[in-house]
Symmetry: C2
Subunit: 535 residues, 2 copies
């Protein structure tokens, strides 16, 4: 029975210029940190070798919740929504012109489409693409049978056991990049891991991108809060990867939220336009709290999600046919008593299963699920809700899972402890996805042991025990007495210790000093070109 | 979108004699507690109405992990195990005689079967049966598309936040019966909720059965630790339900563990024989810590589980053709570092999915999964592991889920707090099982609201919001500030408060005083007939 693969993926394309191209696997000596000379050699001697699992490739089937007739019904309803109700492209005359030319009916900023138009336009979007990392062993395949895991995105607050809940800073952001780099089951460095609230709003994206580019060598996301910031993201990638490489390859996957219901605002569409024209990937994702931004029903939510994604993907293909996009669905329900969004709920799971089926019928990569929870603490509530969502994400065929670790309190908080707790559970998904290997010689073990024996010492066990079972790097498996003597620590306490250890062991991956200098110069130039803005 | 049904099931058969036959639903006034007179009337006035959800009936498909060829391979291997290696029926000459008469080859206490024999014998076991409760509204259907949830079984210790970890007592046992009775999503009162270690080993079963019969009106399990205790269980049911009713109906479902690998000991088989002859149901369940009692591989474990269940079910049908039985699979993996069993692991999930498929191909009800965890505390580890297992239990087609709430520390501890935490999460399974209702008028809501609006006040939301979303009775959905002002409680603290409230609100369900007197007399008579034994 094979363990989940932890060896790096073979390079999919030649390394971009400026990269060493050497694998960062456990079999390879640590490379010197940047800076050269004695300091670099000392760093190389003490650096830990950072293993990252290859992105998941499912060898198990998806869970097919709805039958074909039900899916066709939802698709027909979505088409009716696009035809009869339409969608709004606000403050975006160029978009309206593109739609008009494609055959849609325009009334004010409302776009109504002939039946079938949106689906036909979606056909040019690729079913799968490679997002390249600066370490080519860490490039990821998005789509098909693959699942790429990325951390929490967007919280203005952070929490840890020692410091409690507080506004996030740039140093917190950098720490989360470091933790992501050190996380074996995390394939992607993510985007806005938390909001660096100590940096002006109009300059944060520069510091965040620089952190992803220098503190990790995993793939990452670009800025979407202004079209100009999307352009900055592409420009910095051109420095990191080289101009031609960025022209010909996907090096950014960025998150374009749709303003549900049925509204496409000029800021998000502007960022999409920048990325699509640059051949860079976007997640096109309805952002839905069920009962508020969508009907208070699973079926109604699926109809609306599909209509919104169809319109968004179709628009991306109007901007640039072939632009890589992901069918997104961020869906949660609402507590009708308090109005608070709720997470890890069964209704969200049902939407996620159904939306996965709809995405597959569109032949598009699918983004959904995550370690979602509403809890204020990394406690049992957080874990129940997150595990419900993580399990469902694997079985629903998700290809890109944002928020796969670190999400707390409805996304208001990035939690240090929950980051490593969730990241550890992502190992479960890796193992589940491998499925059951029937080419196994276990029958000989049954014969060897026979009735009433035990398998602990038999030949089959001796040959397989090291890789047979997934093992947590965090959770406590010790006998009660040992655990008690070691301080009777709960999961949060174990996680605090792990966070401290990972940050202490962290060593920056090497980067060509010339590239680093150009990145820093770009950031300085762009920061100097605008006054600070904090709103 | 319908909420999970919480109305009671219609009675499947006439009420047994001595039962009121009236439903205990929320629509019915509380019935007087036993004892009559003023005390009873006062109790009736203050009694809370206890809702229990109907057992789950899945309207969603099972997750089919393995294809037909893989399942056939496992079945062929299991047949080879039974034919070539065989199983041991220890110290049980009568069982060996039954096997010999059926065509098996006997060598010492080893039983080897012609290929296909065990599967042919299994054919007389029913695919589905009703287990009756003394409140007929709480009878359960076991098999088919149904899922019955029962609490933790077997721990010698209990834990609560106030008292810590300690040996379980009879009063703890009674408290868990009360909590089970008060738990809306729990259909079954279970069996050995914890070991009442303050009662002699040879008399515990009498007190446990009396507690299930008097403190709850949900169905329950019988004793299996000696054949005579199984006989006592049947005898007490004859008092509770009436002799003829027990002769003609299933009123007990009991847990027969198989001594894996491939061994059937005389004690467990003796209890099975008593129950099978009485027409009472048994779960026939390999008890496997993978790597110790089965090969250190998923495929090998599935082969062994199937071989053991085939032999056990076949034997039950030799004892009495048509005896109701359940295909059981208690499977966990082992931490090869410490030797400790581990729970909520991906390997256990894979076995559970595969074993469910094997059970369906045998047309037998299936028992597996539960709120399993290895954690010492009801913390995040406990919740991750439990949620992994609960979700997998729903999708793997489990029909009877023992340990669905309250399990802690690898089954050594019954946790008060985790009992109500898990029991709350069982509501998620109820809602998931309903699936997606496409006969929904949500399209009119999309039309009504249109682009950029919100759904909070629209007609569809007004009509559906009360039942649209599952809502936890325990978890915190409040805004941070409210939660903070209320004491910043974690899930364990919320659960402690809920345990106290449920036990304070608990009122004993009514029972015919004459039946109660006869039960108490039987227990007294049996206790007087033997000296105390504590081992």
């Amino acid at each position: 029975m094979p363990a989940p693969p932890v060896t790096p993926a073979p390079p999919v394309t030649p390394a971009p210029p400026g990269m060493s191209g050497r694998p960062a696997s456990r079999d390879v000596a640590p490379r010197p940190a940047r800076g050269g000379g004695g300091a670099a050699r000392r760093a190389a001697r003490t650096a830990v070798s950072v293993e990252t699992a290859r992105y998941i490739t499912r060898e198990v089937p998806d869970y097919e919740l709805l039958d074909a007739a039900a899916l066709a019904t939802i698709e027909a309803h979505a088409d009716t929504v696009l035809h009869e109700i339409g969608v709004t492209f606000a403050e975006n005359p160029a978009a309206l012109a593109l739609w008009r030319d494609a055959g849609a009916e325009i009334e004010g900023d409302r776009v109504r489409m002939p039946r079938g138009l949106a689906r036909r336009l979606c056909a040019t979007a690729p079913a799968q693409f490679t997002q390249h990392a600066r370490n080519p062993d860490r490039s990821v395949e998005i789509g098909g049978r693959h699942l790429v895991l990325a951390p929490v995105y967007g919280p203005p607050f952070v929490r840890d056991a020692a410091g409690g809940r507080r506004y996030a800073t740039l140093e917190d952001f950098r720490n989360f990049v470091r933790l992501g780099y050190m996380s074996r089951w995390l394939h992607h460095s993510g985007g806005t891991l938390c909001e660096p609230t100590d940096v002006p709003v109009n300059k944060r994206h520069l510091d965040m991108l620089l952190a992803h580019m220098t503190l990790s060598d995993k793939p990452f996301m670009g800025s979407v809060t202004e079209p100009s910031r999307a352009a900055d993201s592409v420009a910095m990638c051109e420095i990191l990867f080289g101009h031609e490489f960025v022209r010909d390859n996907v090096v950014l996957t960025s998150l374009i939220n749709i303003n549900s219901p049925l509204t496409f605002d000029a800021t998000m569409m502007g960022a999409l336009e920048v990325y699509a024209r640059a051949g860079q990937a976007c997640i096109l994702s309805p952002f839905i709290v069920g009962g508020a931004m969508a009907p208070v029903s699973v079926a109604g939510t699926l109809v609306q999600v599909l209509a919104e994604v169809l319109a968004a993907v179709a628009y991306s293909q109007l901007v640039r046919p072939g632009a890589p996009v992901i069918f997104g669905a961020f869906v949660t329900s609402i507590d009708m008593n308090s109005g608070a969004p709720t997470f890890g709920t069964p209704e969200a799971s049902l939407v996620t299963y159904g939306a996965g089926q709809l995405a597959r019928r569109l032949n598009l990569p699918y983004r959904s699920a995550g370690a979602f929870c509403g809890s204020k603490l990394p406690d049992a509530q957080a874990a129940y809700e997150s595990a419900n969502s993580l399990n469902m994400g694997l079985l629903s065929g998700v290809n890109f899972m944002l928020h796969a670790c670190g999400w707390l309190e409805g996304g208001l908080v990035a939690s240090y402890e929950k980051f490593v707790m969730d990241a550890d559970q992502l190992g479960v998904l890796h193992r589940l996805a491998v499925g059951i290997d029937l080419a196994d010689d276990a029958l000989s073990a049954i014969d060897e042991v026979g009735p009433g024996g035990h398998y602990l010492g038999c030949a089959h066990t001796q040959a397989n025990f090291k890789t047979a079972f997934w093992r947590s790097d965090l959770l406590d498996y010790k006998p009660f007495e040992t655990w008690h003597d070691e301080g009777a620590r709960d999961t949060e306490a174990l996680a605090s210790a792990r966070v401290a250890r990972l940050l202490a062991d962290y060593r920056q991956p090497p980067l060509d000093p010339a590239i680093l200098a150009r990145l820093e110069a770009f950031v300085a130039m762009r920061k100097a070109s605008e006054a600070d803005a904090f709103a």
